[in-house]
Amino acid sequence: MINVKKLTKRFTPEKGLFDLNFEVKKGEVFGYIGPNGAGKSTTIRHLMGFMKPDDGGSTINDLDCWAKSAEVQKLIGYLPGEIVFLEGMNGLDFLNLMQKMRKQNVPQKRDELIERFQLDVKTPIRKMSKGMKQKVGIIAAFMHDPEVLILDEPTSGLDPLMQRVFIDLILEEKQRNKTILMSSHSFQEIERTCDSAGIIKDGRLVALEDIHSLRTVQRRVFEVKVKKESDVETIRQSQLQTEVMGKKTVHITVQGNDQEFVQLLSHCEVEHVDTRPQDLEDIFMHYYDRKEVVK
């Protein structure tokens, strides 16, 4: 559905987007992550047709995002990263204007979303808090029931309860076979909603994985305490990556070879096994570290 091919935009030699390639299939939820200034919003601006690529390009439903931007917009619901509305309106005025500009006059979904996010739409926009504006933005993105959703940091400014409402909304839309691309800094959000994730750093895609395979390549470190010192020796002799921490304590790193690990332990007298619960964050953090890139 969304296709980014060789997308290149050079602001300066190091800043911009460089040869970006990825695809989001229909019905898929794609998480787009990366540190501040990596180029997430810039990619999204290209998808929205706000920017013209220097090289390559992107298509949505086989329509070029730059040349056919007005047509592409028929399919899209968009939530900008920095939300600014027109001046001198209240939330409802704004939502109405958006609907009219889309030649839409079914208010059901809009009202349902307003209800769901508990938004007081009669508040003038300039008096709204950040979270309230975010809600107006989310409603504007979802209310016309678009095929494709492009969301730039959708939960920023939302309280934890509303973040949950939002995640439920995403999961529902996913059930309804909508295609979603969302950038985010919240790993939990990505983990719970996305099928696959792209990690971008300094304008380059450094990893593109589906969430399940990310999980299987996930490293876990077990802290094993054995009863006899000879068991420590047994463990050290094994193929597994080990590190002796104390007289009877060993750290064993497991990555996809759980079977071996269990077999090994069956030869020992184990007193206690512990593992730090890890999540995707541990994988992503590795990509986030700025210094890595210099190497």
């Binding site: 601006r45 929205m48 047709g49 706000f50 920017m51 013209k52 931007s69 007005a70 047509e71 917009q73 028929k74 899209i76 968009y78 900008p80 920095e82 939300i83 600014v84 509305f85 027109l86 001046e87 001198g88 309106m89 005025d93 204007l97 958006m98 009219k100 500009m101 889309r102 504007a140």
Partner: protein
């Protein structure tokens, strides 16, 4: 044109537009109202004639005040109305495009299935409507005031309307280049500064050009050369030719604005 956007823009624009209309109308009515007392004042024209020629040209009273028409054209159209329209056109054109891009709300307009051309054309329609309304209200109140507020002085309605149409067209061209600038820049302050700077520059050229014969050539570089209210109201200019030229220039400028806006990168 996107009608929903147009009406929403006109609504949020109404207060400012109302202010300008009120200012223009109040001033033209006032100036017409005091005309009889100035016309009756002996020696007023002698006083004017005593001024150096360049000075007289500058304040729009080359031949003193001989008629109500000259008076309105020189006093109101030559000075205050000019400033009102300049300020209106510069502020509004900046607000309609560059400001929305600078702040980012343009993203929402372009995220609807309306093309950039359509959005920009709608915004252009807003400023054209506003300008037309100011001039229209001023024309009507000018005619009404000279008809009912004072007696014994005639205002030729046809040539007064001609003056107003030409004034509208001159400022349509100014609005055109301001709108072009506004469509080309991402920074609201920059767009405002350049529009205001350029317009002021044209105005200064006009003043300098009228000061003496040596500097007259400067007039060739300013749009205000075409704006001579006293000649216009006395039908001493070729209104049809000037009008046609202005309309063409405005078309080119607004058309160019749409194209520039369509083709450019937007940092939204």
């Amino acid at each position: 044109m996107s009608w929903p956007l147009y009406s929403s823009m006109m609504k949020s624009h109404a207060k400012m537009l109302g202010g300008f209309i009120y200012g223009a109308v109040a001033y033209i009515v006032l100036i017409i109202w005091i005309y009889p007392s100035i016309a009756d004042m002996k020696g007023f024209n002698d006083m004017i004639n005593a001024l150096p020629e360049g000075m007289r040209k500058l304040i729009g009273m080359e031949n003193g005040i001989n008629s109500l028409a000259d008076y309105i054209a020189g006093e109101f159209y030559g000075m205050l109305f000019l400033i009102i329209l300049m300020v209106y056109v510069i502020l509004t054109s900046t607000r309609l495009m560059a400001r929305l891009v600078d702040q980012g709300s343009m993203a929402y307009l372009l995220a609807t299935p309306n093309s950039r051309l359509k959005i920009a054309a709608t915004q252009a329609a807003v400023i054209i409507t506003g300008l037309a309304l100011i001039v229209a209200f001023t024309t009507l109140s000018g005619i009404a005031a000279s008809e009912w507020l004072i007696s014994g002085y005639e205002l030729d309605v046809a040539s007064f309307v001609t003056l107003n149409v030409l004034t509208f067209l001159i400022f349509l061209v100014i609005a055109g280049y301001c709108f072009f600038i506004s469509s080309s820049f991402n920074d609201e302050k920059k767009a405002l500064g350049i529009s205001a700077g350029l317009t002021l520059f044209f105005y200064m050229l006009n003043m300098a050009g009228k000061l003496s014969e040596d500097t007259e050539w400067l007039l060739n570089f300013t749009i205000f050369k075409l704006y001579d209210p006293i000649k216009m109201i006395n039908n001493e200019t070729d209104a049809l030719l000037t009008g046609t030229m202005l309309v063409m220039a405005a078309l080119v400028l607004f058309g160019g604005s749409l194209v520039v806006f369509k083709k450019r990168n937007l940092p939204l």
